[in-house]
């Protein structure tokens, strides 16, 4: 074990974000109940500074620090960027929500930044222990955020997430313990060395059990079948801005660590886990899509649709080539934009103390608030994977990689699923444009300049990525070239 002061430079972006979180906490402590908008601007500033620091890591060669625990490469830098985008967009969309609820405290921002630090560390962890700590840092902040507004639903959501999340962490930790017992190390590099001495994985059933348990822990975090049951309740009960945050940030960070660990450390077991993930991917997307068909509540529908998206992303895990990794990276960043954008619109359509998320509440909104309707249309198109949106390119890249590796049936099932999903995404549009508004739907909205900015950023990003994806694809390719 060898630690250098210079290792700290790898942590510079993380330290900036942590420092911002602490600063926000102090602002709140010394000016309780007054500092929310200050906290918003401060957090965004901190994230932008961190983004500036991360930019420098893109071209640089991969380097490790803290005795090989932390790795800074293009892949980690990419996911750090995803984390900043998630953070900034969430801050922007929650502005109108907190404004209408007259909630003026800053702890939310501090918790969110802490959670982002966890996400950033997850994508850069080269060691299962660091990964686990990062996962807990991320999750514990989110448990608190889900119950942040102290409503009945929010508390229920927070508690469900906490209890089930605790159980899944236990699974994962047990898996890590088994891997440690069989490999004698929990560093990814060390595990690769150990596995390379084994003729086949059947020589080490304990390691296989450990891999399975770690996979189960990840499947919980990404809401994959059969570990998805918590998702609809938790997503629906939490404040919508928190839902947006956990649907995107947690999923991206969990996939980041999931992909790195499985592709780097467990290639020997790929025969075992690709077939398992094949089944999981098909089950997850089918389950998510068919359950979403039946939903009358837009927030719940988006929760099920996020399960389906996890299924598409799992196709990338099955393929497990750097090409699939590129697809996953692209898919995740477009998923972040379209999902937070959609949740942002859901927030705006509510009013103080009332969320208004049933389909009936959307009737006629397309004519009453044309811009809002247009934005939601683009998000729904992107989620359904209709060109020329980013969602289409993401799906295309993932399916293409699967076909290249010979998983033709998997790609076919993925396409069929996407086609089925069009029904429920477009139903929202049907309500918006082809139904008479029965009540006050769309008359009163809560909005703020920052939230409109968030929607605008998301729309532009989705269209730009959909029409001219080349630049981002290149970055993603560079980030996953090492796998």
């Amino acid at each position: 074990m060898d630690f250098q002061i210079s290792d700290l430079s790898l942590l510079a972006p993380h330290m900036v974000v942590t420092g911002t979180a602490l600063l926000v906490l102090l602002v709140e402590a010394f000016r309780p109940g007054k500092g929310r908008s200050d906290a918003t601007y401060l957090s965004i500033l901190g994230l932008l500074v961190a983004a500036g620091l991360t930019l420098k890591q893109f071209g640089a060669p991969a380097s490790t620090g803290f005795a090989g625990m932390l790795i800074a490469d293009g892949y980690a830098a990419f996911f750090n960027m995803v984390a900043y985008v998630v953070g900034i967009l969430t801050l922007l969309v929650s502005d109108s929500y907190f404004r209408s609820e007259e909630y003026e405290h800053g702890e939310f921002h501090a918790l969110m930044l802490m959670s982002l630090v966890g996400m950033m560390l997850m994508s850069g962890s080269n060691h299962l222990m660091l990964m686990f700590l990062a996962l807990e840092t991320m999750s514990i902040s989110i448990y608190a955020m889900a119950g942040y507004m102290r409503t009945k639903e929010g508390t229920e959501s927070s508690f469900k997430y906490f209890l089930l999340g605790g159980a899944s962490s236990a699974f994962m930790l047990y898996g890590i313990a088994l891997l440690y017992a069989s490999c004698g190390t929990t560093s990814l590099t060390g595990m690769v060395e150990y596995f390379s001495t084994l003729p086949s994985l059947s020589d080490s059933p304990m390691a296989l059990a450990g891999i399975a348990l770690v996979a189960a822990g990840f499947c919980f975090k990404i809401a994959a079948f059969p570990f998805h049951v918590w998702t609809p309740d938790v997503y629906q009960g939490a404040p919508t801005s928190v839902t947006a945050f956990m649907a995107t940030g947690v999923k991206a960070a969990a996939f980041a660590a999931f992909f790195r660990i499985f592709v780097v450390a467990f290639p020997i077991a790929s025969g075992a886990w690709t077939s398992a993930f094949w089944v999981l991917a098909v089950a997850t997307m089918t389950m998510g899509n068919f359950a979403a068909l039946a939903q009358r509540d837009v927030k719940r529908m988006l929760a099920y649709s996020s399960i389906a998206h996890a299924g598409y992303l799992l196709i990338g895990m099955v393929t497990a080539t750097s090409e699939a990794g590129t697809g996953m990276l692209f898919y995740l960043i477009s998923y972040v934009f379209m999902n937070i954008g959609a949740f942002g619109i859901v927030i705006m359509l509510g009013k103080k103390g009332e969320d208004r998320t049933t389909l009936e509440d959307y009737a006629g909104v397309g004519f009453k608030k044309p811009l809002l309707g247009a934005a939601l249309t683009i998000f729904m198109f992107s989620m359904a994977g209709i060109p020329p949106t980013a969602g289409f390119i993401g799906k295309f890249l993932i399916f293409k990689a699967a076909v290249h590796e010979g998983y033709i049936w998997l790609a076919v099932l993925g396409v069929l699923n996407s086609a089925a999903s069009v029904y429920y995404y477009l139903r929202v549009l049907v309500y918006m444009y082809f139904r008479e508004s029965e009540s006050e739907s769309g008359d009163v909205i809560r909005t703020s300049p920052l939230s409109i900015l968030a929607a605008a950023i998301s729309v532009i990003a989705i269209l730009v990525l959909g029409i001219a994806p080349g630049y981002l694809v290149q970055i993603a390719e560079a980030a996953t070239a090492a796998f």
């Binding site: 602490l22 906490l25 102090l26 709140e28 402590a29």
Partner: protein, 118 residues
């Protein structure tokens, strides 16, 4: 290493034996005349009301949570302190960062009034 703890076990057992022994002797020597009144809950001779198990103030929970944070911090500091002289400058910087983060949390709970008792 393990044999170092044999005396620990022996002393534990002996102390427990002495403790239980004195209680045993006392219950042999002492009178045993329980009455209903004698076995009632002590309340200065008055009728006991209300029952003992009532919720206590939420402050105690907050204090207990703050304690856990600090206690875990100290647990981390102990191995660090033993090896501090071998760790070089890195050890100092890391720990100062650690203590600093904790101090921010401390300032936060102080300002938020967790430590006030009225």
């Amino acid at each position: 290493m393990v044999e170092n703890f044999v005396p620990v076990l022996i002393l534990f057992l002996l102390a427990a034996a002495f403790g239980l022994g004195t209680v045993a002797i006392s219950s042999l020597l002492g009178p045993k005349r329980p009455t209903k009144v004698k076995q009632e809950t002590y309340e200065c001779g008055m009728v006991v009301d209300p029952p003992a198990y009532r919720p206590f103030h939420v402050k105690y929970y907050l204090i207990a949570m703050a304690f856990v944070v600090f206690d875990v911090e100290v647990v981390f500091l102990y191995p660090w302190a033993v090896k501090f002289k071998q760790l070089g400058l890195f050890g100092l910087v890391e720990m100062l960062v650690f203590i600093f983060i904790l101090l921010v949390g401390y300032a936060y709970i102080w300002k938020k009034g967790v430590l006030e008792w009225e």
